[in-house]
């Protein structure tokens, strides 16, 4: 064996393929979106449960939980399964409820199913992590943990998702497949951050509570905590947690990894990395849409956002993210539906 070229070189061409199946690209994208979605479910629930402890009797359960469901656009499904939105029903709905396709349980099941169809593309370590996470939410242990110590349950899911992302970055070739995984995660995250901000809107609207009150501050802090932004926010803005500052931070901050702008910037970069087109131009509809959204976010001010209405702005952003996703599917996976 000493000396000489290894066998793979001798055969002339690397065995790994350069091109990616459209179906595989689609599955990698969804695998990643579903894991991120499970993580976001866990974040939203964790923060809202803790918020209840802080607010105590000051808020009634229905008013607290109904907006959470509304911001996820799940009200109809929820109402068909439960009589009222309270701690127990919402928690179950978003964690282990099999009939909710967006519960943590369903998301991790679907993520794993997508991973199973792409196992030759992802690393074994990625597969094992996603499988472990899936086996955890399937287990009796998960049920008991959720009942006895919900916070620990959510931490398991969140850390599990982070671990998956770390393993992905550390063990997978940073090629096309990795870009599709990034795109899935970033689109989902941008969407989720906008919804978490929107929950706040839903909570405020019916109560008519005076903006700037103590309850309000606690609620805005909860928004920051649910996207791990409390510490980063405090470094940037000294003093009180003010609504417009929180919104400004979560929408337009350039470097915070869960802000909408950061997600869209990275998403646009990932799209261009797949096509090889320079980031200053666009080579397909997905890049055109993401590029336009990216520059809008670069130049928008928080004043303009509040003038046009925070809720309206967030809803529009969600729609534009959806369009990017659709355009990407049309560009790279259209042949799947063609015949």
């Amino acid at each position: 064996m000493a000396g000489g070229a290894p066998k793979a070189f001798a055969s002339g061409r690397p065995l790994a393929l350069q091109d990616m199946l459209s179906r595989v690209a689609d599955s990698l994208y969804w695998m990643s979106r579903y894991i991120e979605r499970a993580e976001n479910d866990a974040r939203i629930l964790d923060v809202n449960l803790q918020l209840l402890l802080d607010l105590g009797s000051e808020v009634d359960a229905m008013q607290h939980w109904a907006p959470v469901i509304a911001s996820l656009e799940e009200t109809d499904l929820f109402d068909s399964l439960y009589e009222a939105a309270d701690e127990r029903s919402v928690t179950e709905f978003l964690t282990l409820q099999k009939d909710n396709p967006n519960s943590i349980f369903s998301c991790l099941t679907l993520a794993r199913e997508n991973a199973r169809t792409t196992r030759e593309q992802i690393s074994s370590e990625m597969w094992e992590q996603i499988n472990r996470l899936y086996l955890f939410v399937q287990s009796e242990e998960a049920k008991q943990l959720l009942a006895s110590s919900p916070h620990e349950f959510f931490v398991r899911v969140i850390i599990g998702s982070h671990l998956f992302q770390g393993i992905t970055d550390a063990t997978m070739t940073h090629g096309e497949g990795w870009d599709f995984i990034r795109i899935g995660r970033l689109l989902e995250r941008a969407d989720s951050t906008s919804r978490i901000l929107d929950v706040k809107y839903h909570i405020l609207l019916p109560s008519g509570e005076q903006v700037g009150g103590n309850v309000d501050t606690i609620q805005w802090m909860a928004v920051l905590k649910s996207v791990s932004a409390m510490e980063a926010y405090c470094k940037l803005y000294v003093g009180q947690v003010a609504p417009w500052k929180v919104a400004e931070f979560l929408i337009t901050h350039r470097e915070f990894p869960r802000s909408i702008r950061y997600c869209v910037d990275s998403l646009d970069t990932a799209l261009h990395s797949i096509s090889g087109v320079d980031e200053s131009r666009y080579g397909n509809e997905a890049e055109r849409l993401s590029g336009r959204l990216r520059s809008d976010l670069d130049y928008v001010t928080i004043g303009e956002i509040f003038d046009s209405g925070l809720h309206e702005y967030l809803t529009m952003t969600q729609e534009r993210l959806l369009e990017v996703g659709d355009a990407m599917y049309a560009t790279y996976c259209a042949s799947l539906t063609a015949s």
Partner: protein, 488 residues
């Protein structure tokens, strides 16, 4: 479990079977003696821990198979027994020669059957038997394949009779599965018992997937240049999906479903993010019937419309080729020793299990008279389905099968009930003799390559001789070891 391991082995009963480990109660065969000593010294708690380690490792890697019609979650791990089966090198060499002889004859037979049919004209096999075989594809008569190879991958099931002779039970010449367990079992054993491997020189199995890739590249259409090879799977709900994915990953090839492929101008392409890309070789894990709805089953959503036309034009190669099922028909099986004599002018090295053909009047009478002593099998079933074990059947089942055999004699064969060999296996808290078979995997490309050992399947249910995973079977790692300690 607190019983010392040495006690578990000393309480072991050999009974009236050929036992892989013991030649008599308490007397281990020489090639097992070091293994036995190592197991006896193990503390029960350590052993228990190793068992858990194995189960966790299979589960977390997702080494599972799918159970149909089971709502308890559709995936299960294939039970794995930690006591390996050991085959001495000299014994293995005979098996290897026998298998090579057999697959050579089968490929010559298939070429003959789909061309001049001399073996029929010379009266060695009755014409009727071939023409009535369910998997014979007359539409591929006079069709030429690259290098004339039909069966590229074969899984031949062997059993051992009371005297320890290896007999061929059946050839799986369509889409044999299970090889991923051989590779995963070995990996698990090396992690769990590193010490045992340093005591034995166990022949490695790890290069199987590279050898398989060599075969697949070798059979590419001649003008393909650097061929693009893919594995075609029915999808994640197929019971062997784990294996499909495992093999594709190990070979670094794409795993595709029917919907990923498209035929244009009698050429097959896969749909990629950068457009269509030509495919040259398909390792298909889909049976003939489902390959192409335009030619075979019209309701198949798993295949690729137009695939067969591309195949006919020689623009795509398939492994295995279309029409190999006629070689693993259980009636045709009976004639394999005759094929070996006919094509190779050699005596068969591995014997068949004696087989009675219901299609032959004398045999039919014998079968009907001796049903309770026989195993009856449908000619084209696999996976342990369509089978009657006479000694375990009720009167009603016996008369039901007698009726079926008389109505469709071509579709049934019968064999005496062979007492498969047994191998010590863990069953709850004790070690019991359980029946085993052996499925070596044979690759036929530029040369014949056989994985050392193969898959030992074990019927974990007491008294059962059905080793199929769908029917309560498990598996063991199989070691071919270089001998040092002299012959038995």
């Amino acid at each position: 479990m607190n019983i010392p391991m040495s006690d578990l082995f000393s309480q072991y009963k050999v009974d009236d079977f050929f036992d892989e480990m013991f030649s008599a109660p308490g007397a281990a065969r020489p090639h097992y003696s070091r293994l036995l000593a190592a197991f006896k010294e193990m503390r029960p708690a350590d052993f228990e821990r190793k068992r858990d380690l194995a189960a966790t490792s299979f589960l977390s890697q997702g080494v599972t198979f799918t159970v149909y019609n089971d709502d308890q979650g559709t995936e299960r791990i294939f039970p794995f027994d930690l006591i390996p089966r050991i085959i001495p090198a000299a014994e293995w060499e005979t098996i290897e020669r026998g298998l090579e002889q057999r697959i050579t004859a089968l490929n010559l037979f298939l070429h003959d059957i789909y061309h001049g049919q001399t073996i029929l004209r010379d009266g060695v096999i009755p014409k009727q038997i071939i023409w009535e075989a369910a998997h014979f594809r007359p539409e591929f008569m006079h069709f030429d394949l690259p290098h004339n190879i039909y069966i590229h991958i074969c899984g031949t099931d062997l059993i051992r009779d009371r005297d320890g002779n290896y007999l061929v039970l059946e050839d799986n010449a369509r889409c044999p599965s299970g090889v991923s367990y051989v590779l995963e079992n070995r990996q698990a054993m090396k992690r769990i018992f590193p010490g045992l491997f340093s005591e034995y020189r166990v022949r490695p199995v790890e290069d199987y997937t590279q050898e398989l890739l060599n075969v697949l590249r070798y059979i590419a259409p001649l003008d393909a240049g650097e061929p693009t090879v893919v594995l075609l799977t029915p999808g994640i709900y197929n019971s062997a999906y784990y294996e499909h994915s495992f093999l594709a990953r190990s070979m670094g090839i794409e795993i595709v479903e029917g919907r990923d492929l498209v035929e244009q101008d009698s050429t097959v392409f896969m749909r990629t993010t950068k457009g269509l890309r030509r495919v040259d070789v398909i390792y298909r894990r889909i049976n003939d019937d489902f390959l192409d709805p335009r030619v075979f089953r019209k309701d198949s959503g798993l295949g690729v419309p137009g695939l067969v036309e591309a195949y006919r034009r020689g623009n795509i190669s398939l492994a295995n080729s279309i029409g190999t099922g006629v070689a693993d028909d259980k009636v045709v099986y009976h004639f394999v020793p005759k094929m070996i004599r006919y094509y190779l002018d050699q005596d068969p090295i591995l014997a068949n299990v004696p087989t009675y053909l219901a299609a032959q009047p004398d045999d039919l009478n014998y079968i009907l008279d001796h049903l309770p002593e026989l195993v009856v099998k449908a000619a084209n079933e696999s996976g342990g389905y369509g089978m009657l074990i006479g000694s375990q059947a009720s009167t009603a089942e016996l008369s039901d099968f007698a009726g079926r055999i008389q109505r469709e004699p071509r579709n049934y064969i019968a064999q005496p009930i062979v007492a498969f060999s047994r191998s010590p296996s863990f069953c709850e808290d004790s070690i019991k003799g359980r029946h085993v078979d052996l499925r070596p995997y044979i690759l036929f490309g530029e040369k014949v390559t056989i994985i050392p050992g193969g898959l030992t399947r074990v019927a974990l249910r007491e008294g059962s001789m059905v080793v199929n995973s769908s029917q309560g079977g498990g598996s063991k790692d199989t070691w071919v070891v270089e001998e040092e300690g002299g012959a038995e």
